[in-house]
């Protein structure tokens, strides 16, 4: 604690607590929000695609008529 006499001095930030902690607070809140959204999206996408896949049929990749696209196949 070279810079600060006490924790309360640290939190007070020389009277600029609102500005400093407001900046840091919002930044980390936004980062947290972004992470939550990213992981929520991952979960949603997996669930939705899984449902879509079940609806189309397990072997969606091999069946014709569903507009699906096998990435690699060994026919022809």
């Amino acid at each position: 604690m070279q810079q600060w006499e006490s924790w309360s001095a640290f939190w007070d930030m020389g009277g600029a607590a609102f500005f400093v902690w407001g900046s840091y607070g919002l930044t980390f809140a936004l980062i947290a929000l972004e992470l939550v959204l990213v992981f929520q999206r991952r979960k949603d996408t997996t669930r939705r695609l899984l449902r879509w896949r079940r609806a189309v049929g397990k072997d969606a990749g091999k069946r014709n008529g569903e507009g699906t696209m096998p990435a690699m196949e060994s026919e022809t």
Binding site: M1, Q2, Q3, W4, F10, M13, G14, G15, A16, F18, F19, V20, G22, S23, Y24, L26, T27, L30, I31, E34, L35, V38, F39, R41, R42, D44, T45, T46, R47, L49, L50, W52, R53, A60, G61, G67, T68, M69, P70, A71, M72, S74, T76
Partner: protein
């Protein structure tokens, strides 16, 4: 893959297939790095860097303000780069990358504006002055919004990719022009000329703290973009067999987890 012709024509489907697991493996490492660097940066920023002679403690906002501003500009350039690569090489992964970068870039842009405003109030006495840097930053945020809105508004993914790439490139060409014009305008109108980053005689510890935080935001961006790009790839490639296998695996995982809970 007995047919080499088809193998070639579907070559670009293969790239995401390799990239997807790679992204999944790398992202946690970048995230850990980001946490570590943020901890170091904040420690330097709050406990090592001395109090500023003129501004007092408020200047400590610099440790997120400047890295966020740098990052927001840098991310736009990277977006434009991936867009150009996508248009030239016709690779879909590049477009997906640039779309995954945009929200993070916009977030940093907003953070730079917000911290700038909070720093401005005690320094200039007003939350917002039409300072050249802040104004350019605001316009950059609008460019981000434009890109995001355009790519979301177009339903056909191929058109969305390419239209987004065009607007990203047009924006990237204009960013220096906007910056120059705003600077010009600002000097003529004699607005606030106190520049945020030109804190007089910046101590080396301040600079170190800023650089460490900049590196932390790099690592964070890499991690979050890699995480964001993964479901986008799944969505785009959902017709392929590897995504099918991936989904089945994820489905089993969530089932067993649900069973336990």
């Amino acid at each position: 893959m007995t047919n080499p012709e088809r193998g070639r024509s579907l070559l670009r489907f293969a790239a995401p297939q390799n990239f997807y697991p790679l992204a999944g493996r790398l992202a946690p490492w970048f995230a850990a790095l980001a946490v570590l660097l943020t901890a170091i940066g904040l420690w330097i920023g709050f406990f090592v860097a001395p109090t500023d002679a003129t501004q007092g403690q408020v200047y400590r906002v610099i440790f997120i303000h400047v890295p966020a501003a740098w990052m927001s500009m840098f991310i736009y350039l990277v977006m434009a780069f991936w867009s150009a690569v996508g248009l030239i090489m016709n690779t879909r992964l590049s477009f997906v990358m640039s779309q995954a970068l945009a929200p993070t870039g916009a977030m940093f842009c907003f953070v730079a504006l917000w911290t700038g405003a909070l720093w401005g109030k005690p320094t200039w006495g007003a939350y917002w002055v039409w300072d050249a840097r802040l104004t350019s930053q605001l316009l950059l945020l609008f460019l981000y919004f434009g890109f995001i809105a355009l790519t979301r508004a177009i339903e056909d993914p191929r058109r969305a990719d390419r239209a987004g790439a065009i607007i990203a490139l047009v924006g990237a060409v204009n960013v220096p022009i906007i910056y120059f014009s705003v600077q010009w305008w600002n000097t003529l109108h004699q607005g606030a000329s106190v520049s945020l980053t030109k804190a007089p005689s910046m101590a080396t510890t301040m600079l170190t703290g800023m650089l460490v935080m900049a590196l932390a935001s790099w690592a964070y961006t890499l991690a979050v973009v890699l995480w964001r790009v993964r479901p986008m790839i799944l969505e785009r490639e959902r017709h392929t067999e590897w995504v099918g296998a991936e989904l089945e695996r994820a489905g089993k995982l969530s089932q067993t987890a649900g069973g336990r809970a």
